[in-house]
Subunit: 457 residues, 2 copies
């Protein structure tokens, strides 16, 4: 029962009320996501397989689909207290602007220097690496949020951090790069001549601007060939969704304080880490019959893995060195056209979210970037926060849903994840402000060609 009149603009938990364990949504699923496959043997990966690439505790978390709550180690909890709990905001001003009877809430993850939710998993991955006695970790970054988050986490635990940054981002976003350097990270534009795979790609494609798939391959090669080093990934993986469940758990605890039940839950989905984290406890409630909320994944029309992809085993990276995952995919060779939501330009999707989508526990919508930026600007002007392009996909659909409520005269409760801020995305805003932003939609022929290269499993 909602006590609407008393709801503040921002609902904060106290530090004592913060969740002490992450929630593993797979434990609640009767039909689990399909297992990862070893790319060489095509058999389900073992703990030993994964432990060559990831540190062992994280490999365990990756494979564990039965434990429900996994305690958060105290050093991670303490770090969380630097920037968490994050606020759950009642969007009173947006509601007024739209003239909607809907109640809109958003969980804002941008109040930290990484500018996004990525820090929630970065600090966990750095912690376990430190505990295992590793001295360095590698990763790739596209838009730069994950690389920034991991740099911060490594700096905190005294680990060396080597980030392969997609070359075009490295050149177009020197400020993101500089934040990583300020946190002590080594940042290499990818493809580079520091790895075998990088040299091969440079030889085959001189002058290439790089891609996320290539940067992953370089980061993995460096991790497995460097002593006391492992690779880390900021999305897609089950372990990442686990760490990101802190978002959903905090949200649920904050809503419960005021007796609020969401009718619609919305999140942007690239690899799925934010949406997966936000919805984890709510999915469990749906599966237990405690909730009937509608969950909506929002993806860019330029990279529509859920709405136009195939549910099949595919490689997670272009270099095909990572395990195969059953997921909604556009094909590992699919190159999304230029868009300003770098964090959503991934050909696949979290296996967990893919399975939830396949089980019809979640729906998906694809939106075009000009309509996304229009929503971003409308939101920024009334709610004060300049959102990241990725996050603005969720804003677009939240506004659409609020307008539907207005048309239907329904007082629904809409919750969305506001994953981060757009301070490093002003080139994109400039294009939008100048009216020179374009939309890109892959043709059916593009997708057909890409699907033809899916591995036979």
């Amino acid at each position: 029962m909602s006590k609407t009149s008393e709801i503040p603009y921002k609902i904060y938990l106290t530090e004592e009320e913060m969740p002490k364990a992450w929630f593993n949504v797979r434990s609640a699923m009767a039909k689990k996501p399909a297992p990862l496959l070893n790319p060489a043997t095509r058999q389900p990966v073992t703990l030993d397989d994964l432990s060559h690439v990831f540190c062992r505790e994280l490999a365990k978390q990756e494979l564990d689909d039965t434990t429900d709550f996994i305690p958060i180690p105290k050093p991670i909890l303490d770090f969380y207290k630097m920037y968490r709990p994050s606020p759950l905001v009642r969007a009173y001003f947006l509601e007024k602007e739209l003239g909607t009877p809907a109640h809109i809430y958003y969980k804002f993850e941008g109040n930290n220097t990484s500018g996004s939710h990525k820090l929630n998993s970065a600090i966990a991955q750095a912690y376990y690496a430190k505990e295992e006695g590793l001295t360095s970790i590698t990763t790739e970054t596209g838009a730069g949020q994950w690389g920034t988050a991991l740099s911060m986490a490594c700096s905190f635990f005294g680990l060396k951090c080597h980030v392969y940054m997609v070359k075009c981002s490295y050149e177009q976003k020197p400020h993101r790069r500089e934040v990583m350097r300020t946190y002590g990270a080594e940042v290499t534009p990818s493809p580079s001549n520091t790895t075998k795979v990088g040299r091969e790609i440079l030889a085959a494609h001189p002058g290439t601007n790089g891609s996320l798939g290539c940067a992953i391959s370089e980061a993995v090669e460096t991790a497995v060939s460097t002593p006391n080093c492992r690779y880390t990934l900021g999305s897609v993986l089950a372990q990442v969704l686990l760490h990101q469940s802190i978002i959903g758990l905090e949200t649920q605890a904050a809503l419960k304080k005021y007796g609020i039940e969401p009718d619609v839950i919305i999140g942007c989905a690239g690899g799925g880490s934010n949406l997966g984290g936000l919805i984890s406890p709510f999915v469990a409630d749906k599966l237990n019959g405690k909730s009937n909320c509608n969950i909506i994944a929002v993806e860019p029309a330029s990279c529509p893995s859920l709405t136009r992809g195939k549910y099949a085993y595919d490689f997670c990276d272009t270099g095909r060195v990572c395990p195969l995952q059953k997921m909604y995919t556009l094909g590992h060779d699919f190159i999304p056209s230029a868009s300003h939501a770098g964090g959503l330009r991934y050909h696949g999707m979290s296996a967990t979210l893919s399975e939830l989508y396949d089980q019809k526990l979640m729906e998906a919508r694809a939106v075009e970037q000009t309509s996304v930026f229009a929503a971003a600007e409308q939101f920024a002007r009334v709610e004060g926060i300049l959102p990241a392009p990725e996050s603005s996909h969720a804003i677009r659909v939240a506004i659409d849903e609020a307008l539907r409520c207005k048309a239907e005269g329904r007082e629904e409760t809409i919750l969305f994840g506001l994953t981060g801020t757009g301070y490093f995305d002003m080139v994109a805003y400039e294009k939008f402000n100048d009216g020179s932003m374009c939309d890109y939609i892959p043709t059916d022929a593009d997708l057909k060609a890409s699907f033809a290269k899916l591995p036979q499993v």
Copy 2:
């Protein structure tokens, strides 16, 4: 009595606990700041004089040195709830890093899109302009925080906002400019040919990069020559310190919850808005004999108005169109050498802070920017927040004080103002990371030449 063990990482007030009135520190001072003088008559300015430039309610606040508490209008209180209360953070990680027995707290004003405390006064100034029936306001901006804050505030109240941005900043900080445009502001590089004073300056100094003093003159000219338009200023003025007192009032309320009394209070000082706001209630306690805390203003060695300036009447702007103010000043013709703390590059200082300094209620220290950035980076790595160069001046001295406590074995409580974030200052961080940052200190001869041009009053 401090209940140390229970103090959380971040102390938040509830929305009900937020201050409902601003505090006018001048009301507590037996000897008041000297009156502003009309630049033409050299007589104390009248309400009518000021009302040509500022809207009337703000002009009243500027002249009112006796009322103690001024109620915050409800629309401003509601806007404050979008990003306030701001957290008072216990710097546990910094204390551990330094190995100091001191307890360090900082009031963090950077969790909003303007990236600083400037929004606290911008929303007030926009509100009163709207109430008066104005349709547009003008201002100048250097580093861009104030221009961004005012753009956000005007967008919220549906006012047209015209920002004159110092030309070199306009070109070097296109992303700041774009945030302002996203909030609907018109941004003009200054000097421009849109004003008489701009055209004169361009004719006299072709190819000039502009200065804050010139941008002020253009913004004032546009305000007084446009119907239903007034000028606004983001620092220096008594009205701005009044609005910024929300910082100090929230801080004091948060400290009182845990029975904490600060021994040292530190803030950076350019025009003085942040420091003045932070210390306002604590100064009253000092004057009432309730507190014996030491207040430290930190300024850049490149622009040392308190530590090396003269306490004299001077012009607030280079164009000499604004009222004369008695303040610590380096002379209105003083051009601070290039430094990365654009927000501290002002020749003068708030009259209120100047008077407090003159009465020895506050001390001042000047610090060099390389040592400031070293402190910034040390802070960022353990406390997670990437601070603005301006704010980092306060961090430098907070660390120095904490190390003094360590050397002396004293468990003092240190409080400092962390005014904002450095996301738009990565060019400066890059110079520091590359080892190519320089320090600048004006010579005695420079200052002597500048003092010679002080007006005779």
